[in-house]
């Protein structure tokens, strides 16, 4: 399979990329890792007339803490997360997630930014970013704007990124003391999309009272979903078995999975409940250690 004909440029600066976007409008697509875009182009589900390869633009591949945020640049690969000492030591949720994203070769190319910008609720990072309450930095010739992750996903393959804009960075508030997080997805085999996936981040104070809860769900809703009622039932309380059970129950009620080859709706709701409880318990364990 070979993509339809297109033209290509690899600008050396964001300014050049913006002017190419200006010129080609919504006929242009941004190429970062390309591991969602190129398969779609090979299948002719997508046939952009122009590809703007941003890989030659310096200053977009960082993973660093700065000004109270973990900042992930648009060109940071999944493999860069896996091998980052900062991520290994402080952000176990990304170690959980990257291991389950596709396979090592794909992770050598695929970017975290692309995983989000693709706008697919089946991808894993959207739920993780919801649990961590990330912000997405979107840049254009006019400047920069920051969009909270809750306002980023508009619909299937549709996000807040406009045709003249580029996702340039993801910012995650550095978690305070007593924070733990975890992610797991059920997959039928390596590289499959999630049957269901759940990301959880919790902060516990000295008395074990939950002061922060973030819960994101993968592939059980048309857009990535925050399990808001589950978060509410946890915050302000000590997390006993009953509350965790309720959080799992609410998540399974509030999602909207569709029946497909990975399972029917009822099964997926049941899996959301189980995974939510497990990830809460894992996050508590990590918060305490």
């Amino acid at each position: 399979m070979i993509p339809a004909t297109f033209d290509y440029a690899a600008p050396a600066s964001l300014e050049e990329a913006f002017s190419l976007l200006e010129q080609h409008g919504d006929e242009a697509k941004i190429l970062a890792g390309g591991h969602s875009l190129i398969p779609m182009m090979k299948l002719r589900f997508a046939s952009p007339e122009f590809l703007i390869d941003i890989n030659n633009i310096p200053g977009l591949a960082h993973i660093k803490e700065e000004d109270g945020y973990l900042k992930i640049g648009a060109l940071a690969r999944e493999a860069d997360l896996e091998h980052s000492e900062l991520i290994r030591s402080k952000y176990p949720i990304f170690m959980d997630a990257t291991k389950l994203i596709a396979d090592p070769q794909v992770r050598n190319m695929g970017t975290v930014g692309g995983n989000i910008a693709h706008g697919d609720a089946a991808n894993d990072h959207p739920a993780v970013m919801m649990a961590l309450r990330a912000e997405v930095v979107i840049s254009s010739a006019e400047g920069q704007r920051t969009v909270p992750i809750d306002e980023f996903f508009y619909g299937f393959y549709m996000t807040a990124v406009q045709p003249n804009e580029i996702l340039t960075e993801i910012r995650i508030p550095v978690p305070g003391a007593g924070t733990g997080n975890a992610y797991h997805k059920m997959e039928r085999k390596v590289g499959d999309y999630a049957t269901a996936g759940v990301a959880v981040q919790l902060t516990l104070d000295g008395d074990g009272v939950c002061t922060y809860a973030g819960i994101g769900l993968t592939n059980v809703n048309p857009v990535p979903l925050r399990a808001a009622r589950s978060e509410e039932v946890l915050v302000g309380h000590k997390l006993d078995e009953e509350r965790i059970e309720l959080a799992g129950q609410y998540a399974s009620e509030d999602c909207n999975p569709s029946t497909d080859l990975r399972g029917d709706e009822e099964y997926k709701r049941a899996m959301v409940k189980v995974l939510t409880k497990r990830m809460i318990n894992k996050a508590i364990e990590r918060a305490k250690s």
């Binding site: 090979k42 090592p104 070769q105």
Partner: protein, 167 residues
């Protein structure tokens, strides 16, 4: 709309005219006639087309040739040297790490990077490490052993003398 690219393949520089839509695997196989790199699924699943791009294993059916402009590509043809087989090739030979051989070039190139990151991987790490490469013959056990063999040899240790499994 052809563009000129320069790629170094197994240390040799090539300047080529490519259409932007040409896939790296097609250029490797059809323009450079290096047919050790295989096309299996053509959908980023099977890993038969795995090569190294600037030292990182990638699936060349899902990378445009133009993306490799100015970069170094390593294929299975570059593994053996005048001194003989690469330890991984030797490991696959000694441990019956292949049957039909179709997946082998991809397995080898993936394992090269795996051992570069981790010179003494556990069995579990090897199995996760080759999760993007499918083999329909061996049941993977002998592939794992082949990689363990190479890892021992590359560390300068005695190579494990376990009998290969026939399943």
């Amino acid at each position: 709309m052809k563009k000129q690219i320069t790629i170094s393949v197994n240390g040799e520089k090539h300047t080529l005219e490519v259409e932007p839509r040409e896939l790296l695997v097609h250029v490797i196989r059809e323009k450079l006639r290096l047919t050790g790199t295989h096309i299996g699924c053509d959908t980023t699943s099977c890993g038969a087309c795995t090569v190294l791009l600037n030292g990182k294993s990638i699936k060349s059916c899902t990378v445009l040739a133009i993306q490799a402009d100015g970069k170094e590509v390593s294929t299975v043809e570059g593994l053996a040297t005048a001194e003989g087989l690469h330890p991984l090739q030797e490991g696959f030979k000694e441990n019956h790490g292949l049957h039909c051989g179709f997946c082998t070039p991809g397995m080898l190139m993936r394992a090269v990077e795996l051992l570069e990151h981790n010179d003494n991987p556990t069995e579990e790490e090897i199995r996760w490490g080759i999760a993007g490469n499918l083999c329909r013959c061996t049941g993977y056990n002998n592939i794992v052993k082949a990689i363990q063999y190479a890892s021992a040899k590359m560390r300068g240790e005695e190579t494990p003398s376990t009998e290969p499994e026939f399943v």
